[in-house]
């Protein structure tokens, strides 16, 4: 139950996002006879202010959030991982500069920097990924650095150094595999955070541009018709919450399963 419910939600989210082109959906089809029509038997989730089917737009929005959150977390884990591991392993002035850099990045309240960056870079899905990636790598970097600091004097690393293994080999073969577990846990929470952040930026009008669908922009557009058509706000929000909740629960499950200590560095929008 603790695993299967969240896993099935996340899996169907990923499935719908990846295989979207296989379904004949019409998220942009305007139907002026169906403006703001409530949920019915034919159209389960009703239509929006332009008569577009809400269900189709939700699935299209799933693709946006899936693509963005995957890219953001991949960017953050690889960049943060590489920087954090090399900084801890090389130590000396490299590490000192790195720690200062991380401190400065952490001096910005989480989402604030992402909003400012997205505002400067201009709207669009690529800029959203860039803005969230620039903000997101710090957490992974700090985590990776801490892990390596604890491990770099372990016997097997000393042994590898003694037989003359080069630094890159020690990092890749002897350090990275051991710090994967906490990084994976952090990444699963990172997925949840990135989904909320993408929707948040789109809610502010800084994310994907119309007519492309995002759960965040659907909520924003829906707030204008809240009294006459509350389904426009309720359904995208419920979907968003279900996926985020599932990702968080998966993270909790993974943490317990992989026996990783809780990190206090977690941020939330």
């Amino acid at each position: 139950m603790r695993l299967w419910l969240p896993l099935s939600i996340v899996a169907s989210w990923a499935f719908l996002a990846i295989f979207l082109p296989l379904f004949s959906l019409t998220p942009d089809a305007i139907d002026l006879t169906n403006i703001l029509s409530p949920p019915s038997l034919e159209h389960w989730l009703g239509h929006d202010d332009l008569g577009r089917p809400v269900a189709d737009r939700l699935i299209s929005g799933a693709q946006t959030s899936f693509f963005v959150s995957l890219c953001v977390v991949a960017l953050g884990v690889s960049l943060g991982g590489i920087l954090g591991v090399s900084s801890a392993y090389l130590s000396g002035w490299v590490d000192a500069v790195f720690v200062r850099m991380v401190d400065i990045m952490l001096a910005f309240p989480g989402l604030l920097l992402a909003i400012a960056l997205a505002g400067a870079l201009g709207p669009g899905i690529g800029n959203v990924i860039l803005a969230l990636g620039i903000v997101g790598w710090v957490g992974y970097a700090r985590l990776a650095r801490g892990q390596v600091l604890a491990l770099k004097h372990a016997d097997h690393v000393l042994a590898a150094q003694a037989i003359g293994a080069p630094p890159w080999r020690i990092i890749l073969r002897h350090l990275l595999p051991l710090i994967m577990a906490p990084l994976i846990v952090e990444a699963s929470f990172g997925i949840a955070g990135a989904i909320i952040a993408e929707a948040g930026l789109s809610f502010l009008g800084l994310g994907v541009q119309p007519p492309a669908a995002s759960w965040g922009s659907m909520i924003r557009d829906g707030t204008r018709y809240m009294l006459v058509a509350p389904h426009l706000v309720i359904f995208p929000g419920l979907t968003l919450m279900a996926v985020v909740l599932a990702a968080n629960m998966l993270g909790d499950w993974l943490r317990d399963r992989l026996d990783v200590k809780e990190q206090s560095s977690r941020r939330k929008s």
Partner: protein
């Protein structure tokens, strides 16, 4: 102790300097010509040139930085391109609203999280615990730009108890503060629970029970004060989430604070105002963290501080 004090203050100042540099560079991240983006493509060449001069964008980067930094030292943040007013005045106008909202949200968050976390810890592995932690998981997963509209729908449109948006009347703060506070309470409750659980296993708790204190008294007078200390520093960090989330919440409720100012400025391409708002919020965040750290050191002399 003095050593800790000095290094902590120095590192905060270094962070502020770094934040200033990043905020300064923000305007150079704008793709293409920032002046053209701010004024629009149809602007007169003379207008463009005069703005370029006013912002100092024709100078080399290090000179621009130095001018920006000198301006900051004189509390001169430039003028708004949209309203033509001094940005400092705009900030001073908006700060009270954000401060008020943050404070009320903080009270809501602590008021919700303290009983939840405490009950969950004392009654660990009971339905009460699972209920409280379930609530926390929900609170963490509900984005505030969805919770806000839902609260408006129920509290303002259906029940009519609170105004839909803006800052009018005493009850206008209720919905935005609930939106921000619940999100924070969720994370806080989890922290309080784990912190109290840790303290409950200490020797002095057994002693307190052994000398005949009721379990309520032992928890409230012996466990809670010790458990709250580590929460304090986390509370400072949480405030960052609060300030970041306030940007979205203020937009949802048209709450006239710093966050709304920033979003309006982004929409108007008024980048000097965006820079100033980011700077103001971030510096506040750094100072609050510094203060909580110092408070922590003052409250708990047991702690040996390392300068990592």
């Amino acid at each position: 102790m003095t050593h800790f004090l000095v290094t902590r203050i120095l590192s905060a100042m270094l962070a502020i300097l770094g934040v200033i540099c990043l905020v300064f560079l923000l305007i150079h991240l704008i793709p293409g010509d920032p002046v053209e983006v701010m004024l629009g493509e149809s602007a007169q060449p003379t207008d463009k040139e005069s703005l370029r001069h006013a912002l100092g964008l024709n100078l080399p980067l290090h000179q621009q930085w130095w001018i920006y930094f000198k301006g900051l030292l004189h509390l001169d943040l430039g003028t708004s391109l949209f309203s033509g007013r001094a940005i400092v005045d705009l900030l001073i106008e908006r700060i009270p609203a954000t401060l008020y909202l943050s404070l009320v949200s903080l009270i809501v968050a602590i008021g919700l999280a303290l009983p939840l976390g405490l009950v969950a810890a004392v009654r660990q592995h009971t339905p009460l615990d699972y209920g409280a932690m379930g609530f926390a998981l929900f609170g963490m997963s509900i984005p505030n730009f969805w919770m806000g509209p839902l609260l408006i729908l129920v509290g303002a449109l259906w029940l009519g108890w609170f105004p839909v948006s803006g800052q009018e009347g005493w009850n206008s703060v209720v919905l935005p503060a609930l939106t921000l506070g619940t999100a924070m309470a969720a994370i806080l409750a989890r922290m309080i629970r784990s912190s109290v659980l840790e303290v409950l296993g200490e020797d002095f708790m057994r002693t307190a029970r052994a000398k005949g204190l009721s379990s309520t008294r032992a928890v409230l007078h012996h466990a809670l004060p010790n458990a709250l200390l580590p929460i304090l520093t986390l509370l400072g960090l949480q405030l960052g989430g609060l300030l970041g989330g306030a940007v979205i919440t203020e937009t949802v409720f048209a709450w006239p604070g710093l966050g709304l100012l920033m979003i309006e400025a982004i929409q108007q391409r008024d980048y000097p105002v965006v820079q100033a708002a980011v700077l103001c919020i971030s510096v506040t965040y750094i100072m609050v963290n510094l203060l909580t750290d110092l408070l922590y050191a003052w409250l708990d002399p047991r702690i040996q501080f390392t300068t990592d």
